[in-house]
């Protein structure tokens, strides 16, 4: 039987504020344990939490970027459970009246565009960090520095059908969070965390199967792998006549398998109630408009504009807008050389990114400026250097930081475009290779490549390929007519 998966994701994004959500402790990462706590985040009796204005602002910004409707009034709630990293015995979250609802985001899959619904976006506080003792040590260790660091939880509709879509959804979410600068959303650093609800059903069935909850997937790759594994596991259970048990599973990256969570208690009975220590949040139309006005151009809009304005393919526009710094880099290059945006896209995506990837560097670390890429493409467009030479020039710019123009001048890298000079070289190459000429004339036209290679060799790569081609075809035709 053919099955389809039904997947919904719950994503936590850490907001990039200076201080915590309900107290003035620093959110700085990596400080010594328990040095960023105060009576409020330690949950001492008699203290009062006060909402950080920037948290509300960032959360609204994120919700708007995810096409949500912002509730004019939203309320904080207590989610009650016991765990050593939660000193108050409850987490301040939102429940009945979340900040925002009814949004969506769009992903580009190999099968086309897909819209994934977003059920809700709400604000909450993070818990502390538990460190488990080595084998044989009967203790765990708790650091409360992270307690009270602001999070938004983004809950998707169960619209995701494949592990690949789940990965694309998360990557898009990360891109958007980075564009609007509310979070760095780095999964490895725990700034973006993802839990998944997943069930399977026979294709065509509309009722939902029993779902399991997957946790502990801390990279995009792990999310995809864990979901792939879980789909296969559920299929096997059903095919063997078993039933799926609703449970929480942990992804074990070492084993490449999901395991039943062995924590003693895992009751989903949180007894939510409105948080009496915090008054409701009212988002006025005025505030909403102010935040909306602060939103930058979002990835989808930018992509559409790149296609329209620069004549890029959908794929190129997608790649170039997948990170804001890349889009900015590209546009700075276009500004410096507006005549050939398509070539610039290629140079940025293929040559520059290729080099950066090989060294595991980001575009922000690129030793080449957008203006230098623009200058390089301009030199090719003017015919001063060939594309092949330009690659060597880029390699030198990359190493030395020197402008392409300067490298070209210093090394005398000028393309040979003089027709009479090239004609003599072409003539000589044809004379030296009479067999190949015969083959060409006999119909093996692909052998042109061989001649071009020989000419390039004779000119040390400096020959202008367009001119060479033109002369070569002309000369070969003449030879054909002479026969």
């Amino acid at each position: 039987m053919e099955y389809e998966a039904v997947i919904g994701l719950e994503v936590h994004v850490q907001l990039k504020t200076n201080s915590k959500v309900f107290c003035s402790c620093s959110t700085e990462f990596g400080a010594p344990p328990n040095t960023h706590t105060c009576p409020v985040c330690q949950g001492m009796p008699g203290v009062l939490p006060v909402l950080n204005r920037r948290v509300a602002e960032y959360a609204i910004k994120a919700a708007l970027a995810l096409n949500c409707q912002i509730n004019p009034l939203s309320v904080f709630a207590r989610k009650n459970y016991f765990y050593p990293d939660l000193p108050k015995g409850y987490q301040i979250s939102q429940y009945e009246l979340p900040l925002a609802e009814h949004g969506y985001l769009e992903i580009e899959t190999p099968q086309g565009k897909r819209r994934i619904g977003i059920t809700r976006v709400h604000m909450e506080e993070d818990a502390g960090k538990n460190v488990h003792g080595e084998f044989g040590d009967p203790h765990s260790y708790v650091d409360l520095n992270r307690t009270g660091v602001p999070l938004i939880e983004i809950v998707s509709e169960p619209d995701i059908r494949t592990p690949e879509e789940a990965r694309l959804y998360l990557q898009k979410l990360r891109t958007i969070m980075r564009y609007i600068e509310v979070s760095d959303a780095d999964m490895e650093k725990g700034e973006l965390r993802c839990d998944a609800n997943i069930s399977i059903r026979p294709k065509g069935e509309t009722r939902l199967g029993v779902k399991t909850e997957l946790k502990n997937m801390n990279s995009f790759r792990h999310v995809q792998k864990a979901l792939e594994y879980e789909i296969k596991r559920q299929q096997k259970v059903l095919e063997e006549g078993g039933i799926i048990v609703q449970e929480t599973l942990l992804w074990n990256p070492q084993l490449g398998a999901t395991e039943t969570m062995r924590s003693k208690e895992e009751a989903h009975d949180y007894r939510y109630f409105p948080e009496p220590d915090l008054v409701p949040l009212e988002v006025s139309q005025e505030w909403l408009e102010e935040v909306a006005a602060s939103l930058p151009e979002l990835p989808d809009e930018k992509k559409a504009r790149f296609i329209e304005e620069y004549g890029l393919s959908a794929y190129d526009a997608e790649v170039l807008t997948s990170a804001r710094e890349m889009a900015d880099f590209y546009e700075a290059a276009v500004k410096a050389h507006p005549d050939n945006p398509k070539a610039l896209a290629n140079w940025v995506m293929v040559e520059l990114l290729g080099r950066l990837h090989a060294e595991n560097k980001s575009l922000l670390e690129a030793p080449v400026t957008p203006q230098q890429i623009a200058q390089l493409v301009a030199l090719v467009d003017k015919g001063t250097i060939s594309g092949k030479m330009a690659k060597e020039v880029l390699a030198k710019t990359y190493q030395t930081g020197k402008d392409p123009q300067q490298i070209v001048e210093e090394e005398g890298l000028v393309q040979l475009s003089d027709e009479s000079e090239l004609e003599a070289i072409v003539e000589k190459v044809l004379e030296d290779n009479p067999k190949e000429v015969e083959k060409y004339l006999a119909g093996k036209t692909k052998i042109v490549g061989f001649f071009v290679g020989q000419i390039m060799k004779a000119t040390k790569g400096k020959a202008n390929p367009q001119v060479v081609n033109k002369i070569l075809i002309k000369k070969l035709q003449e030879k054909g007519e002479q026969q």
């Binding site: 402790c25 328990n34 960023h36 009650n80 765990y83 765990s140 260790y141």
Partner: protein
């Protein structure tokens, strides 16, 4: 009619990590039922056009600016801890088995 039985009281007690004597369970079962009866009485009012109250104060948007102020020192933070280690962590019984 009793809305809450002993089993429910014990369940909530378990969630709140509370231990009760047999007499206390009896007493709380009785009291909780009385509270619910009172709520039922309130429910008789027509609240069709009344906005729900989420907070006792008729106030919204009490906020602070995103500014860092000094926190407790590590020693102060750990002062009331039943157990700690030299690195400055709270030490608790092992959370995950294994």
């Amino acid at each position: 009619m009793e809305k809450i039985g002993k089993a429910e009281v014990l369940h909530v007690a378990q969630l709140a990590r509370l231990e009760f004597t047999e007499e206390e369970v009896e007493a709380f079962t009785h009291q909780l039922n009385k509270i619910l009866q009172y709520v039922d009485q309130l429910k008789e009012l027509d609240t069709q056009d009344v906005k729900p109250t989420f907070h006792a104060l008729a106030q919204t948007n009490v906020m602070r600016e995103d500014e860092v102020r000094s926190s407790l020192t590590q020693e102060e933070a750990l002062a009331n801890a039943p157990d700690r280690d030299d690195r400055g962590f709270f030490r608790v019984p092992k959370i995950i088995q294994g």
